[in-house]
């Protein structure tokens, strides 16, 4: 019976993809912060090392995103990301209410995980925003900063590189915030480490 309750939700390829992405993004955040806030007094990473790490991790995460993008285009996995506008707000509010007080009153999760529904609405739409908006923006601006000769030199007397870099940094920061929330929400499992174990062994 116990095995019936468990769902094999995350196949090996997905776990490897997730792991590579996770590691790459952590490296990008740490090296990105080191480059944005360098100091002569305190350094997390040597500047040159941070630049190299950021470039390498950026390329790896970009290819990983390409896999995700193509995979979602051509495989059934895309159904988990399909936007359904009808009743969207209602579903989001319902899930938010569950996080705010429902879960403290032992209410049932409004959108329990099943084989057909891997993500609750809040999860799904935050993933959609990150993967289809933030990540593409950060990849495009990142490629531009890797090859600055591609960037328009000046846009209304403001450096094109500066606009690109500010956009890159801002989106990077928002992805960092997403990561914090993603990790926190992952800890809501019962027991708290349950979801972390799932993404390693595949069983939910």
């Amino acid at each position: 019976m116990a095995s019936m309750e468990k769902l094999y939700l995350y196949p090996l390829w997905l776990r490897i993809w997730h792991g590579v992405n996770a590691l790459g993004i952590v490296v990008l955040i740490v090296s990105g912060i080191s480059m944005q806030y360098p100091s002569t007094k305190f350094t997390m990473l040597d500047f040159g090392t941070a630049v190299n790490m950021h470039n390498i991790a950026g390329v790896i995460v970009s290819f990983s995103f390409l896999l995700f993008f193509l995979g979602n285009m051509f495989t059934k996995n895309r159904k988990f990301y399909r936007i359904k506008p009808k009743g969207l707000r209602k579903r989001l509010v319902k899930q938010a209410k569950y996080y705010i007080h429902g879960m403290f009153n032992d209410s049932e999760a409004p959108f329990p995980i099943s084989e057909k529904r891997k993500f609750n609405p809040l999860q799904k739409y935050s993933y959609v925003a990150v993967m289809y908006f933030f990540v593409p923006v950060i990849i495009i601006t990142g490629i531009a900063l890797l090859f600055p000769e591609l960037i328009i030199e000046e846009i209304y007397a403001v450096s094109g590189v500066m606009i690109t870099a500010v956009l890159h940094g801002t989106v990077g920061f928002l992805i960092f915030i997403f990561l914090l929330i993603h990790l926190y929400v992952a800890s809501l499992g019962k027991p708290p480490l349950k979801n972390f174990k799932s993404i390693i062994n595949g069983w939910h």
Binding site: M35, T40, F104, N105, A157, V158, A165, V166
Partner: protein
């Protein structure tokens, strides 16, 4: 009535054109010199053959009049710096050995040019590797071509132009075997290989002056002249890539000063035409990031507390 207006307009235009021409003309006394010294060839009477012979001009003695016109010394007569005996043609060969005027001969101790601090520059230069190796053989003109020199760091609004102009001074010797060996017995260094360690080398070469890493930055001097030997060159990225950047006090010095003294610091920020990783922080954006980060962490802490209480 109309004819009067037309006359006035013509006089105005002519006056304007004359002013423009006057501000960029070369002293008329120089025409005789430039007749030969802008030409690939010159004609000389050979007393041996008793014939007028056409010879090739030494390419180093051919002047570019366009650059000459825009140089700071464009109003000078040739013989202000060169011997008046050059007015005789053919020139006396011995004149070549006569020491030329140096910058300090005119500019040293001169209050008219006090803001240029020529004497300080001389002091700083005497601490440099150039002076250490070549002493007085290394004259200002090795870098600052008196015929064409423009005070670009003071006059240009474009960082890229300032960088290119400044780096070309270094490259005129360090990237030229002929010029380099005028001062040294060695061959000139292979700059691309020597700077291989520098990430995005091409970008740095285009946007940063050589002197940014190869001099000791003096806050009281517009352009540092104490050029170090290669072993003392800055190799620490953070010195430029930080909010307290070395670049702010050297390359951006003039722009910073003019923005502080002139109208509108805001305009200067809005028209920021350069970006260096690590030096540029948008204050308002930083505050927003901080508020979002604190908000997120606070939300998670409060949520965790409720989770513990309601367990």
């Amino acid at each position: 009535m109309f004819s009067q207006i037309r006359k006035l307009v013509i006089i105005f235009i002519l006056g304007f054109v004359c002013l423009q021409v006057q501000s960029q003309t070369i002293a008329s006394e120089n025409r005789q010199c430039l007749k030969c010294h802008t030409s690939q060839t010159f004609t000389i009477y050979n007393e041996w053959t008793e014939l007028n012979e056409k010879r090739l001009m030494n390419p180093f003695y051919i002047l570019d009049t366009v650059q000459l016109k825009t140089g700071v010394h464009h109003t000078f007569k040739c013989i202000d710096c060169h011997s008046y005996e050059y007015e005789t043609y053919p020139h006396n060969g011995e004149l070549k050995l006569e020491p030329l005027m140096t910058c300090i001969d005119c500019h040293g101790g001169d209050d008219t040019y006090a803001s240029f601090q020529f004497d300080r520059i001389e002091e700083e230069f005497q601490k440099s590797i150039h002076y250490e190796i070549s002493e007085d053989r290394f004259t200002c003109s090795k870098c600052h071509n008196q015929h064409y020199y423009k005070a670009t760091a003071r006059s240009s609004n474009s960082i890229k132009e300032i960088v290119e102009y400044s780096n070309n001074m270094c490259l005129s010797c360090h990237n030229s075997m002929i010029e380099y060996q005028l001062m040294s017995e060695n061959t000139n260094p292979q700059l691309v290989q020597v700077h291989e360690w520098l990430p995005n080398q091409e970008l740095h070469f285009e946007h940063v002056r050589c002197i940014e890493c190869h001099t000791v930055v003096e806050d009281s001097l517009m352009v540092s002249h104490n050029i170090h030997g290669k072993t003392l060159a800055t190799k620490n990225c953070i010195e430029c890539h930080s909010t307290n950047s070395l670049l702010q006090s050297s390359l951006y010095k003039y722009q910073n000063i003019s923005s502080r003294s002139g109208e509108g610091a805001i305009k200067n920020i809005l028209s920021n035409q350069h970006y260096v990783i690590g030096t540029y922080q948008t204050q308002s954006l930083q505050y927003m990031f901080l508020i979002i980060l604190i908000g997120t962490i606070a939300g998670m802490v409060v949520h965790t507390i409720f989770r513990i209480i309601k367990k």
